[in-house]
């Protein structure tokens, strides 16, 4: 079956992408599979300046999920451009940069730095980071800010497609999606992590130094599917589905509600070859359930009248 997919200025050889922060810069997974087999690689979050991230502990396991508060530890965008990017097989797999900043101007500047990089297929804008204390939450949860940031990125992105990544920690995800569309986003990706917490009753401390952290993994899949469904129904630009995908069936669920592509996050920790295998499994399952084509299947959910 033809698994190619084109949307929002991206042409992918299949709908399987890896989610930011869960696949490093991609190179970490090269010993476990052929990176060029993937539809796309979203690199870990990048900021203008290097960031040390949050104090430890940063991760905790939860029922069918995990919490993380990494705090966008990264070597800065320049380091990415000079070191990781040249080492990646970007001619044969879409490499997408994930942008993190704390105001619109900084986002614009980041986009400007990446706009000229041939190896970067698109920019994904993380307006949601729920991990970082310094204003992260409020700003990704405010439609006006989302629109402003999207505009700022779009203005400096040159011809790079812009994907805006939405947070589920909002009363109304559709309003946020509309705000990104209004700001000129070429596509949307959702969801980022849910805001959560874990504590240890024995030492009476939070299990994560940052106290509040981001919940990901299969536990959040129903929330993610609902968000994607609501946004697809309401907004015209294409959507990339993220959240708890841990099997080919999960991936197809997102495509069924209308996602053009999907991103695998936490499941990369189940096995480092998970995403590579998923590419094959997805095609096989589509055939098994009798779908005519990816296009025919996408968004074919039958809703009650």
């Amino acid at each position: 079956m033809d698994m190619k997919v084109s949307f929002g200025g991206l042409n992918l050889k299949n709908p399987v992408m890896t989610a930011s922060g869960t696949f490093g810069f991609g190179l970490e997974f090269a010993p476990y599979g052929d990176l060029t087999k993937l539809g796309g690689i979203v690199a870990k979050g990048l900021s203008l300046k290097p960031r040390e991230g949050n104090p430890m502990p940063r991760i905790a396991e939860t029922p069918c999920g995990m919490l993380n508060a990494i705090g966008i530890q990264n070597p800065g965008v320049e380091d990415f451009i000079t070191k990781a990017l040249p080492a990646l097989p970007w001619k044969d797999v879409a490499v997408i940069a994930n942008l993190y900043a704390c105001d619109a101007a900084e986002f614009g500047e980041l986009a400007g730095v990446l706009a000229g990089e041939e190896g970067v297929a698109a920019l994904e804008v993380n307006v949601s980071c729920p991990n970082v204390k310094e204003g992260g939450i409020a700003f990704g949860q405010d439609p006006k800010q989302i629109c402003k940031v999207t505009e700022a990125v779009k203005k400096n992105a040159g011809n790079k497609p812009v994907i805006v990544k939405l947070s589920p920690n909002v009363t109304d995800i559709v309003t946020c999606a509309r705000a990104a569309a209004e700001g000129g986003a070429d596509s949307l990706s959702l969801i980022n992590t849910l805001s959560g917490m874990a504590v240890d009753i024995r030492n009476r401390q939070p299990r994560i130094a940052n106290v509040i952290a981001g919940l990901s993994g299969p536990a959040i899949k129903p929330v993610a599917l609902r968000c994607v469904h609501q946004v697809v129904q309401a907004v015209d630009i294409p959507v990339v589905g993220i959240g708890g995908i841990a099997s080919a069936e999960d991936a197809l669920e997102f495509i069924l509600v209308g996602a053009h592509a999907i991103q695998v996050g936490t499941a990369n920790f189940l096995r480092p070859d998970f995403s590579f295998d998923l590419v094959d499994e997805l095609e096989k399952l589509l055939e098994d359930i009798g779908a005519e084509s990816l296009d025919e299947f996408r968004g074919s959910l039958k809703l009650p009248l």
Binding site: Y32, E52, I59, G217
Partner: protein
Amino acid sequence: MSLRNCQCIRILDVSPVGQLKKPDEFFELKLEYPNWDGWKPGQFVMIRPTGWELDLLWARPFSICSADGETLTLFVQKVGRGTSRITALKPGDTVSIWGPLGNSFAMEPDTPTLLLAGGIGIAPFRGYVEHHSHPENLRLFLAHRLPLECYPFGQLSSKVEGLCMLDGQPDDLQYIIAAMKEQIREFAEKDGLVLACGPTPFMRTVQTFANEFGVRAQVSLENRMACGVGACLGCVTKDGNDHHVQVCTKGPVFWTDKVKL
């Protein structure tokens, strides 16, 4: 560099160690030898049983204890949900395994080398002793909470000079620390090497004395890990310049002057 692909391999045997007193805390796991072209003592593997459903998402890291071309041996202490399920595996069950991961302990055959193990921290030293060409230069010091028969101490003390101290009573700890200090001082004086593996407080103590006596020393860290391949940044520690570095790829072994604990 050795192959680090992810494989699905079979459990050959799971047997409790030191049955008599505490029958179900320490286990020796034997697995089919994965298709590796080599490994070094101090390296580890990530293991996730096939058929674990999704309510334990992460694999678990274990030091490579020993391996020949047919069998990989791990030494597992049951401390929580993951290790409970891993030690309940039966021959024939399969696990996803990726490794060998991380760096390894310094190996200087002619240097007098002190191996400091805190409890389960003895695991990587079994492979270390087996790989060492001059075991007469090694001394193993084990601080143990359970009866000695629970640890693979006998297997090692037949090959190297072995010391052990029981950490059973509240007072014991101070004697252990004093003895450790003495040992580290001795190896500092003969310009030796100190290698340590055990719980973080134990590693901190080693670091303090290593600094005090100016001996070259390495500690192996046991931070919680999700990916094991350097991607998630969940396992970091601070290096000498206060930068966060991944324990899984920059470690698990660190020189004591290049890590903040």
